[in-house]
Amino acid sequence: MRRLTLYRLEVPYREPLRVEAFEFGERQGLPTCSIVGSMRGDEVQQAYACARIVERLERSEERGAIRKGVRMLVIPCANPLSMNVASRFWPADGTDINRRFPGDAYGETTERVAAGIFGAVRGSSYGIQLASFNQQGDFIPHVRVTRAGAVSEESLSMAEDFRLPCVVSREATPFDTGTLNYSWQEWGTHAFSVYSRTTDRIDRPSATLVGNAVMRFLATRGMVSGRVGGGSDGVRLDETELVDVRTEGSSGYLDGLVKPGDCVEKGQELGLVLDAFDAHVRERLVAPVAGRVFFCRVKALVQQRMVAYRIIPL
């Protein structure tokens, strides 16, 4: 294992931003696989899960389990500057590095950071990003493939090698064009977004689950030797098949009754919306279909017209 500084940016009154990576296996050539943990300042779980992957790959390398000809780059935290001040986006201008890819070495600040990252991971055969959503809530751990390139369909079949509970496909939107995932695909990389359960707090079980999934993928695709057991036959679905449950006529405290992964019956109560002043039940959120809970909003306060739950229908 070698520790590399991929990119360095001088900033006012702080130590420079350093994007650091761990390199495993070969030292030359394009990466066989690149793994990126957090890119935003609140992606603590993603950085943690990725750091645990670094730890496991270090042990794999020590016992000679990384296959000859394989080069892997792992970036646990691409944006320490934001993480150290708990700002999801770039603190000085509010921009999101994950909307700036492929980046521009002579462009605006976060375009430069994106270019510094992409210059190292461009052309990887496989790209794995431990991603997060802007929706505030917990998810069933899953892998996503965004249809954005010629390799997307093949990527979708490969995604099953993670053996995560869910494989979700989705169509790219204009908003996706600045993401790392999208740029990877433009360069022919099989790109996967792996979602853990949480974002701004550590959830050890799902971090381990994601770590196992990544190690399984690396083993199945022939990058590391050895067996990583477990996993499951994931449900494969398109994002449009998810059934949303919204707060329709009320707002207040959300009293959640289920968690991601729970099986629910049609008509089952998923959560209650309580009045903020007298705690009376203002709305009962019920499952419109039988299925498994994919997403739960976890913020204590909920507005009217907010998606509180998403269900994978049976």
Partner: protein, 308 residues
């Protein structure tokens, strides 16, 4: 008449309400014009225009034919918190269009705004610049819609009309969405975030009245400035910081420069030294100037419009 465009309950004893001021003329049937602003909570330049325009129209209501709808605060939570986006959501409202009436609150808000404005004869969407810049007044016109928008853009009394290329990200803006629905929408940028530039606002107010007049909706007076300069992307040269520090400009917005002339310096107050001089990249006029002194490598400092 004040009307509600969108309403949703916030968690604790309050509603998010987006309102508009509908001003109906007494001069008979005529066009419907929408004037919107405050989509970014830190862009307050449009507040002055909304106020001035409503005053003018009320004073001369007999000279107005048709309707002028003024939406001063599309993002009321952002304005109340002086935040660019929607507080709580880390969300740029102007990247959520066309919205979704069955989506989350902000998507439903975006869909309600589009539904309310759609079909107007013209819409003017007033912004202050992003990125802590100070800018001369300008209409931004997406090239794809230039043919229908240019005749209107030239009426608004701005200093420039900037015709720019399209990008994927623009597809999720209010202006792009409305233009794609054949509601002619002009984006005006001017001044500075969290500030009001009264003279530019006054001229824009007159310009909006000129536009209403062109659509046979206004029979009273309006004042015209000389035609704005038409600008394309290639006419403008940006200069970015290459070192971090404190930007101290030595020239002001609108100043004429010669190529190589010092526009400002980037200072390091700790070491008490100028780390870099910022030089004009071309002969021309400064049309954008960094207003916030703190800069990183890559921070846009100056735009020079060549050939003036």
């Amino acid at each position: 008449m004040i009307e509600t465009v969108f309403s949703a309950a916030l968690p604790v004893g309050e509603r998010l309400i987006v309102k508009k001021n509908r001003i109906e003329g007494c001069g008979g049937r005529g066009p419907r014009i929408a004037v919107v602003t405050g989509i970014h909570g830190d862009g307050l330049e449009g507040q002055f225009v909304a106020f001035e325009l409503a005053q003018r129209l009320r004073e001369h209501i007999g000279d107005l034919r048709g309707i002028v709808d003024i939406y001063p605060a599309l993002n009321p939570l952002g304005i109340s918190a002086s935040e660019h986006g929607v507080p709580l959501f880390d969300l740029d409202l102007d990247r959520t269009f066309p919205g979704n009436s069955k989506g989350n609150m902000n998507e439903a808000l975006a869909a309600a705004i589009v539904a309310d404005i759609k079909g107007a004869n013209a819409c003017i969407d007033i912004h202050a610049p992003d990125a802590h810049l100070r800018e001369v007044s300008q209409v931004r016109v997406e090239e794809a819609y230039a043919k229908t928008l240019m005749p209107f853009a030239q009426l608004l009394n701005t200093q420039l009309v900037w015709m720019h290329g399209s990008s994927n990200q623009q597809r999720s803006t209010l202006a792009h969405t409305l233009n794609s629905l054949r509601t002619r929408t002009l984006v005006v940028e001017m001044g500075e975030s969290l500030r009001i530039t009264e003279d530019a606002g006054s001229w824009l107010t007159e310009g909006i009245l000129r536009l209403v007049e062109r659509l046979d909706g206004w029979t009273s007076s309006s004042v015209a400035l000389p035609m704005p300069r038409l600008v394309r992307d290639g006419d403008v040269t940006p200069v970015s910081a290459e070192v971090p520090g404190i930007f101290l400009p030595q020239l002001g917005l609108g100043a004429m420069v010669r190529r190589g002339q010092v526009v400002g310096v980037i200072a390091d107050p700790l070491a008490a030294e100028a780390k870099a001089e910022v030089l004009a990249p071309a002969d021309g006029t400064i049309i954008s100037l960094r207003a916030q002194p703190l800069v990183y490598p890559g921070t846009l400092l100056v735009r020079v419009l060549g050939g003036v």
